[in-house]
């Protein structure tokens, strides 16, 4: 039964558009799935391999801009951005990894944070190539209806899901966790830590980049503040995994669901909409204090806390 849960979820999602779901609902589900992909990919690097990245917007943005620039400069459909960004983001990850993976712990986190910002500023100023702060507007949208977008992102998510699941149960998965737990010990056990950290970074970057390329096709507009956003991408990615559960398999899904719904809910509240970052900050503090392993990792504890709440009221 438990083994079939992914299939059941996939089946339910697959028939969702046929049930006459509203366009808005479908949009929310698409966002949840897209963020799950980014969460899963961050979790691979940050959760399993222990390299906490504060700059996943860099990969998201490079993916998004790969698709956008294909359209503006070469007049090719943005959808080609998805296969192309695998190569582009992999190369980008290699170059970036060569620099940032020399650093450990907080220094790595800071370097990744900086890398995201460097990419944003580059995109803002390289006007000829990226369109600068004007951004890229895709005038010919592929479809007006969201159904096909939904199926495409669902397929990407399913492939990502299988890939990540296979990875974490393989030799690579063991090596990633060994590196997270003790890099010196891992090295002395014959693990080429530099190589395997680079692999983790590349896979994680490419998967995030694919989500970015999809975003361009789906939203039809990107600019440096959207695609390389520190708060709205890099930090939200970490929050999704933290809320859902670091280094848990289902964490990114649960986290994406909670965060997307919460963001929509707060934005719809009159007068408070612009303060959603504040809410996220408070939520993060609460999560760190009460559920350090996230909703999935501390599920039993969460049930107990909720149970206690009921008993006392």
């Amino acid at each position: 039964m438990k083994k079939n849960i992914p299939l059941i979820i996939l089946a339910i999602l697959a028939v969702l558009p046929l049930t006459g779901t509203s366009t808005y609902m479908l949009h929310i589900v698409i966002l949840v799935i897209m963020w799950s992909i980014i969460g899963m990919s961050w979790n691979l690097l940050g959760g399993y391999c222990g390299q906490v990245s504060f700059g996943h917007a860099a990969y998201f943005g490079v993916g998004a801009y790969t698709a956008g620039i294909l359209y503006t400069k070469f007049d090719i459909s943005t959808w080609w951005g998805i296969p192309l960004c695998i190569i582009v983001v992999a190369l980008f990850s290699l170059v970036l990894g060569f620099i940032v993976l020399r650093l450990r712990g907080p220094f790595f986190a800071l370097a990744t944070l900086a890398s995201g910002e460097v990419m944003r500023i580059t995109a803002e100023n390289w006007v000829d190539f990226t369109g600068g702060t004007m951004g890229i507007l895709i005038q010919k949208r592929t479809w007006v209806d969201k159904t096909w977008y939904f199926y495409i992102i669902l397929i990407i998510a399913a492939v990502t899901f299988i890939l990540v699941k296979k990875l974490i149960h393989s030799k690579l998965g063991y090596y990633f966790v060994a590196i997270r737990e003790d890099q010196d010990a891992a090295e002395s056990l014959g693990i080429n830590t530099t190589l395997y950290k680079t692999i983790a970074l590349c896979i994680s970057g490419v998967l995030t980049g694919i989500a970015g390329a999809f975003y361009t096709s789906y939203m039809g507009y990107i600019d440096p503040h959207v695609a390389f956003a520190l708060h709205d991408i890099s930090i939200i990615t970490i929050m999704i995994v933290m809320v859902g559960g670091v280094a848990t398999f289902w964490g990114p899904f649960v986290g994406a669901l909670i965060m997307v719904l919460l963001a929509e809910f707060i934005r719809s509240m009159p007068g408070l909409g612009t303060a959603h970052q504040t809410f996220f900050g408070v939520l993060l503090i609460v999560i760190i204090i009460f559920l350090p392993n996230g909703v999935v990792g501390d599920f039993k504890k969460l049930k107990r806390l909720v149970g206690l709440g009921r008993a006392s009221s």
């Binding site: 063991y174 090596y175 966790v177 010990a185 002395s188 693990i191």
Partner: protein, 240 residues
Amino acid sequence: MSLLQVKDVSMFFGGLAAISDVSFDIQKGDILGLIGPNGAGKTTMFNVVNGFYAPSKGEVFFKDRKISGLQPHQICKLGIARTFQVVKPLQRMSVLDNVIASAYLRVNNKGEAEDIAREKIKFTGLHDDIDVISKGLPLGKRKKLEIARALATQPEMILLDESFAGLNPAELDESIEIIRKIKANGITIMIIEHHMKVIMAISDRIVVLSYGQKLAEGTPNEIGSNPLVVEAYLGEAESA
């Protein structure tokens, strides 16, 4: 045939010579004890052999191949495994997963890695704790886990850094037994140890370091009667 050769190795940290001009050989199948007062440079020597440090001067050869300057993971792949004085278990992994992670060095498939891991865990007497998360293990068992993990890389030579420190007498006997079994399997051992009784009992040869220099080398009997060694140890005792 000498398996490992340390040739005129010096290691400087800034102006401090942690090791100066130390040379020795280890014969295949032997147990070499590395002893000396605190701060003599024993662990530094391990770090040089294991590749954490590239020596400032001198060279290390393993099976006539120069290994000084290689990365630790390369040296491990060539067949030298080590344990740490300050144990470094992969904390949030179970004992089995710890050992599987290192067994993956020689095999690529999970089944084979697990077979090797289970065998090494049994070898070191940890089979009752196989599913315990290693964070929760007491020190004695963590030290055994270090040995199991090193063995799972299927080394030709193993460096044991104070695998006996902090053990109770019963655990001590078990560990000596484990070391004898490792030797019986044909694995060459270099061991750092403060327990004189243990080191005298199990070593084939002993190298004594003091203030980074080689003070003496010989069989346990020769070392036991060497006045320089006695002085180095008693001197340490007086100042303490």
